[in-house]
């Protein structure tokens, strides 16, 4: 058998198998998308005809829109905060030497390691003790802690490979340390920071397990509202919302090189 035909067969086999894995991965997405067009009052695959009524309902569903607002606010602020803290910490760890540095740095990763149920319980008790109001303060702080490890890891690995000659060059060219950071270091590592912030945003946006302990009556996030709706009756509005979010994401990902690669 010739090289090309055997490699073609191999490729076909791989593509077929990978197609099945993709089908598995995207199965829930497909179902969510399909059910968002149902004519029925509960999530079901459309049988006779499709409708956009749940997209209409979405616009009228004040509770979901409120939750979406809360989710966006919390995700925005916590991703900004964790980007800042994560970047500072990554700088600190990469650019300094002290005993047991690498071991100590795993502490930064603990929030990713420990189950969010435990995080949620620990935080709600703790916030109670220090009288931090539940709602935005608790949610934003909690989500910041939960997403911090992702930013830390991303920025750290960027900084490890960062060529410090660039900073040296900037200094020799006459720039002081602050200018050097603003003009050289910052812009160059910003894709990593942005990617970290993006992941932090996604983590915050989807987090349910710890979040259920941290919400206040006015600040339910989307996943928590969905969970509540589950118990009282889930409507395909949720699916419509999910589809809208997917669309936003796909457009953003295809539109910007930065995010899809990270």
């Amino acid at each position: 058998m010739s090289v090309q035909s055997s490699s073609r067969i191999r490729r076909a086999g791989l593509v077929g198998t990978v197609g099945l894995v993709f089908a598995f991965l995207l199965l829930p997405v497909l179902i969510v998308v399909l059910t968002s067009f149902t004519t029925q009052n509960f999530p079901a695959i459309p049988q006779e005809g499709i409708s956009l009524k749940w997209y209409g309902e979405l616009l009228n569903d004040q509770k979901l829109i409120d939750a979406l607002t809360v989710s966006l606010i919390v995700a925005t602020f916590s991703s900004i905060l964790s980007s800042i803290v994560g970047t500072i910490a990554a700088f600190g760890f990469v650019r300094s030497e002290f005993p047991y540095k690498e071991h100590i740095s795993t502490v930064m990763l603990l929030p990713m390691i420990i189950s969010p149920v435990i995080t949620g319980i620990a935080l709600v008790r703790y916030f109670g003790t220090i009288s931090l109001p539940s709602g935005y303060p608790a949610l934003i702080l909690g989500h910041t802690v939960l997403s911090l490890p992702y930013v830390f890891l991303l920025v750290r690995s960027e900084l490890v490979t960062f060529d410090q000659d660039l900073e040296r060059a900037s200094r020799v060219l006459g720039a002081d340390p602050i200018t050097t950071f603003r003009q050289v270091t910052g812009p160059i590592i910003s894709p990593a920071i942005l990617a970290g912030g993006f992941i932090a945003f996604v983590v915050s946006f989807g987090e349910f397990t710890a979040t259920q302990f941290l919400i206040s009556p006015e600040t339910s996030t989307v996943p928590v509202v969905i969970y509540t709706m589950l118990r009282t009756g889930l409507t395909p509005t949720i699916n419509a919302l999910s589809v809208v979010l997917i669309l936003i994401m796909v457009v953003a990902a295809l539109g910007s090189r930065r995010f899809s690669t990270s």
Binding site: R10, L14, V15, V18, V21, F22, L27, P28, V29, I31, L34, I45, V85, A89, A90, F91, G92, F93, R95, S96, F98, K101, H103, S105, T106, V107, M108, L110, I113, I114, S115, P116, V117, I118, I121, A122, L123, R125, Y126, T129, L141, V145, E167, R168, P177, T180, F205, F208, T209, V222, P223, I226, I238, N239, L245, I246, M249, V250, A253, T261
Partner: protein, 287 residues
Amino acid sequence: MSTRQSRLRTVTRTVGEQLGGRVGNRHLAALGLGFVGVFFVLPILLLVPESLALGTSAPFQAYSRAMQGIYVNAFVRSFLYGIMTTVATLSLAYLIAYYLAFAARRIRMAMTLVIVPLWIAYIVRYFGILLFFSPAGPLADATGYEPSILFTTPAVVIGLANVYLPFAVLPIYNSLNAIDRELVSASRVLGATNWRTIISVIFPLSLPGLVAAGLIVFILAAGSFLGPAVLGGPKQTMIANVIAQAFLDNFNIQFASALAIIYTVLLVGLLLVFNTAFDLREVLGNI
């Protein structure tokens, strides 16, 4: 001139300098640690006193209760499901990652498809899976076949593997992608078939990514709450469900804290064992 000053003045320590010259980069590390310390480590540590009935005759009563069969089972199940999910997820993720790194023609598109599910709340995805396999769901509708898979261990593992798959693809893809293509050529020229090359060269070189992916999937899966809650039955209860139930349904903060502490200690212990085989720092660096 002292060494300390010299550390501050070296240009490689730029950020410290910009904060007024008195702040070193070590202070920045301390700031990060402080944040995690105050808003994460301390709260977790405070569960220790909560878990103890101090001042009573049986301060460890919550712990001795946790030693009973159903709770031990929940712990065992968490770790077991964690491992099963990890194995399943890694196999699938490896296929996708291999495809992305070596065969994909439209990588951006494929990569986007991998990430798309992350935008749908876990719970909604679990519901998709539940609906799919239900007797009145699309699978039975289309094929007439009703798999009796729901509310069993396979259902939970399938669900967990499904939602954590994207987390595993990325690190594996990164390490596959970093493999110098000339190594693959070299292996072929040295007489190895494509398959032997995958086994002897590509696979070992992708181990860092694989281990990183395995670690993160294991951590996420073992601690998961929604998966068993939606797709499992009573026999699939995992530790996160028990902890949530103790805290939310039974108001037993003491017991919930004890379970949380035990779980954390077990997990950290496990990671330390893991650390003897793989360098945890490196592995986490790959995530």
